[in-house]
């Protein structure tokens, strides 16, 4: 267990998977993330909450260097994954993203068959040599994502033909298929109905056993249900992080309290 920097409240953690120190993010002249320090525990769910525009997505996208794809975005500071700086010039962002997968707010299946959607990652990374192995990965990913029973008879059908909730689980399965270590989810349920949301939440809870998960959510209840630790962002600052229970019952900062009790944001 690593020692966390000062301002952040210590909480019991298994292992540190990702640790970020003094992270600044700029979009052109906009200072979107201001001096964030955070530790994200291994095999646990960490939730990012905070009012809209506070920089949750921006920070999440730093963790797998998706911000590199935005021209005007500049990231400073250190982010370590398993103790290695991911912004080091020797790190290939493409390989990093195979280790740190991402699920987006809006389900975005490729316009390919369900099978090919899942097989996309393994094929690109050359994870399999035989068709049978690929079949195996596709099946197990879909099973882990809780989608297998619904789609096993229509693997050749288009991924875009699924319902919104199924599509989102397909995207999760697609992310799992490359066996990442970390899965980043940016408001994965915001386009889903309560039933689909419940399924995805259940899934997140199961995935926790094998993956480190970071989830951005606007729903307090969701953060409370699925996460072990919660981080509260406000105007580009990380205000507070701690065990989910503590954050919701006993927040230290006034801003956190105001936010979770619905006084602003």
């Amino acid at each position: 267990m690593t020692q966390m920097p000062g301002t952040i409240k210590a909480a019991k953690m298994t292992d540190t998977k990702i640790s970020a120190r003094n992270v600044q993010v700029y979009y052109g002249d906009t200072h979107a993330i201001k001096d964030v320090n955070i530790e994200i525990g291994s095999r646990a769910v960490t939730a990012f909450i905070g009012p809209s525009g506070c920089g949750k997505s921006t920070f999440l996208r730093c963790l797998n260097r998706m911000n590199d794809t935005i021209d005007i975005c500049r990231v400073e500071g250190n982010i370590d994954l398993d103790g290695e700086d991911i912004y080091d010039s020797r790190v290939d962002p493409v390989q990093l993203r195979a280790k740190v997968g991402m699920v987006f707010q809006k389900p975005n299946p490729f316009p390919k068959s369900i099978y090919d959607n899942i097989a996309y990652g393994p094929r690109i990374h050359g994870l399999v040599r035989k068709k049978a192995e690929l079949d195996e990965i596709v099946a197990s990913s879909l099973q882990k994502a809780g989608l297998w029973n619904e789609v096993k008879d229509r693997l050749d059908g288009p991924g875009t033909g699924l319902s919104g909730g199924q599509q989102q689980r397909l995207c999760i399965a697609r992310a799992i298929a490359v066996s990442p270590e970390v899965i980043l989810m940016d408001e994965p349920c915001s386009a889903l109905d309560p039933i689909a949301t419940a399924k995805v939440e259940e899934l997140i809870d199961e995935l926790r056993e094998n993956f480190t998960i970071v989830i951005v959510t606007h729903s307090m209840q969701q953060a409370a249900r699925v996460s072990q630790r919660t981080a509260f962002f406000h105007m580009g600052n990380l205000v507070e992080i701690g065990d989910t229970q503590d954050i919701f019952t006993n927040p230290v900062d006034k801003r956190t309290q105001d936010y979770i009790t619905g006084r602003f944001g």
Binding site: T69, V94, A98, F104, P109, F110, Y120, G121, V178
Partner: protein, 489 residues
């Protein structure tokens, strides 16, 4: 009253109606706009439209019908002998010409009104007198023609007067109607909007009706042609050798072959180049490069095709001969002259590059960013993303773009007229001169062709064939493009 003056007075009345309508609306609301159903301007427009619509409609109808009526009543004066000797059309055009000449002579002061109406062929040499005011006639004017011309003039004058009266009456009636109807509860806005809707519909129908008209004239003439020339020989004939003396072979196959051959070469040039350019511009180019290169490429699309034709004739053709000709650097002797399928195909390919690239660029850009993020988020590189996700997603649209380009290639004329040669030939050698459907349409209709001969009418059959081919391609292309659009909506 001359037409322009009549038109101007209608506009004036309309302007007056506008002011009166608006003024009355104001007054009926006691100067309080909020009591009006619509904004005051609408009342003004409503009154103005009440003036313009009926009067202009009457004017247009009158202008269309008047010559028909006058023609038919005057042509009854022409005796059957003269019709048999010449044709009614020719005589009537003489009559109109004399009538116009007389008008001109009166205007110029060379004749008096009394002289004109009293003139007979015996008492006056009309040809000479009209020649003096600059109206040249082909032959002496017969008494019959002169009489007809006189009555033509009279009828025109009367009808012109009636027209003025009718139009002005309608305009003024409209003014009164529009203004009387105006009061604060009248729904002027809705009325005006309905009229505008009508105008929009009229504009749309003009476009559609014209297309229908074009198609019908094509069909009509094509049918005419097939009465004179067997359809089987036309569609399956292997030789094209029109001779205006008759006895021509008018087989379309050599022309179709050249058309397709040239289009194929053009597509072989434009599709890869255009597509790669589009991929580079939309996926890889820095914003600065893109902002310069894209407009530049689109400038290419604005160059008139005749310029490309000159380029083919003067630059590309000689260049190819220098390479593939008998004295060329390769000593192949494949190419005899500068005009060839290859010349036209290459230049047409260059012409189509911006077309393909700008369509493909739009289509690639339409692939949602989420698709890119999804792929990049799985650890795919940019080019893997382009190859495996973006291009497959854009493929149907790109196929549509290619089909549209193909239909442009098939219909292209100037480049083939100048670059491909004039001899119809069925040959595999791309360095031979050949000629296409479009080029032959041009050559069959230019020159002194008799429009009733199969040699001239064949142009319509060629045009119809071309029309069906490109229409088919366009329909398929649009279908594909539309189907692709649905995927993301």
């Amino acid at each position: 009253m001359p037409l322009s003056l009549l038109f101007a007075s209608c506009l004036l009345i309309a302007a007056l109606a506008f002011l009166m309508g608006r003024g009355k609306a104001f007054k009926s609301a006691g100067g309080d706009i909020r009591k009006l159903h619509s904004l005051p301007g609408y009342y003004g427009w409503n009154s103005a439209l009440m003036v313009l619509l009926p009067s202009m409609a009457a004017l247009v109808i009158w202008l269309a019908v008047q010559p028909l009526v006058i023609n038919s009543s005057v042509s009854q004066m022409i005796s059957t002998q003269s019709v048999e000797a010449s044709s009614l059309d020719l005589i009537m055009s003489d009559v109109r010409r004399v009538a116009e000449g007389l008008n001109k002579a009166v205007e110029a002061g060379a004749m008096t009104e009394a002289e004109v109406s009293g003139a007979t062929a015996e008492s006056m040499n009309v040809r000479e007198r009209l020649g003096a005011v600059g109206v040249a006639l082909g032959s002496d004017v017969s008494n019959e023609t002169l009489q007809a011309a006189q009555s033509y003039r009279d009828l025109s004058a009367t009808s012109g007067l009636l027209r003025t009266i009718a139009v002005l009456a309608l305009a003024l009636g409209g003014l009164v109607f529009g203004v009387v109807r105006t009061n604060k509860d009248f729904r002027a806005r809705n009325t005006v909007e309905r009229v505008i809707l009508g105008l929009l519909i009229a504009a749309a129908s003009i476009a559609i009706l014209t297309t229908v008209g074009i198609v019908f004239s094509l069909i009509f003439n094509t049918v005419e042609f097939f009465k004179l020339y067997p359809a089987a020989d036309f569609f399956f004939g292997l030789t094209w050798s029109p001779s205006f003396g008759g006895g021509s072979d008018l087989g379309i196959l050599p022309l179709i072959w050249a058309t397709l051959y040239i289009s194929l070469i053009a597509l072989a040039v434009s599709v890869p180049v255009g597509l790669f350019a589009a991929i580079y511009l939309s996926e890889y180019a820095a914003p600065l490069v893109r902002s310069v290169a894209k407009p530049l490429l689109e400038v290419l699309a604005g160059i008139p095709t005749i310029v490309y034709g000159l380029f083919a004739l003067l630059t590309v053709g000689p260049l190819l001969v220098d390479i593939f000709g008998s004295n060329g650097v390769l000593h192949l002797g494949w190419m005899q002259g500068g005009t060839a399928v290859m010349t036209a195909g290459l230049v047409m390919g260059i012409m189509l590059i911006p077309f393909v690239s700008s369509l493909s660029d739009d289509i690639i850009n339409a692939v949602p960013q989420a698709m890119r993020d999804g792929s990049l988020g799985l650890g795919a590189t940019h080019s893997e993303t382009v190859k495996q996700v973006i291009l497959p997603a854009a493929l149907p649209g790109i196929v549509g773009a290619i089909l549209l380009a193909a239909s442009r290639a098939i219909g292209e004329t100037m480049i083939v007229v100048l670059g491909a040669g004039a001899a119809a030939r069925l040959s595999m050698n791309p360095f031979d001169a050949m000629t296409t459907v479009t080029a032959k349409i041009v050559s069959q209709l230019t020159g002194d062709a008799d429009f009733a001969s199969p040699e001239a009418l064949v142009a319509f059959a060629l045009g119809m064939t071309l029309f069906v081919m490109t229409l088919g391609l366009n329909v398929i292309a649009l279908y594909i493009v539309r189907k692709y659009r649905e995927q993301y909506e």
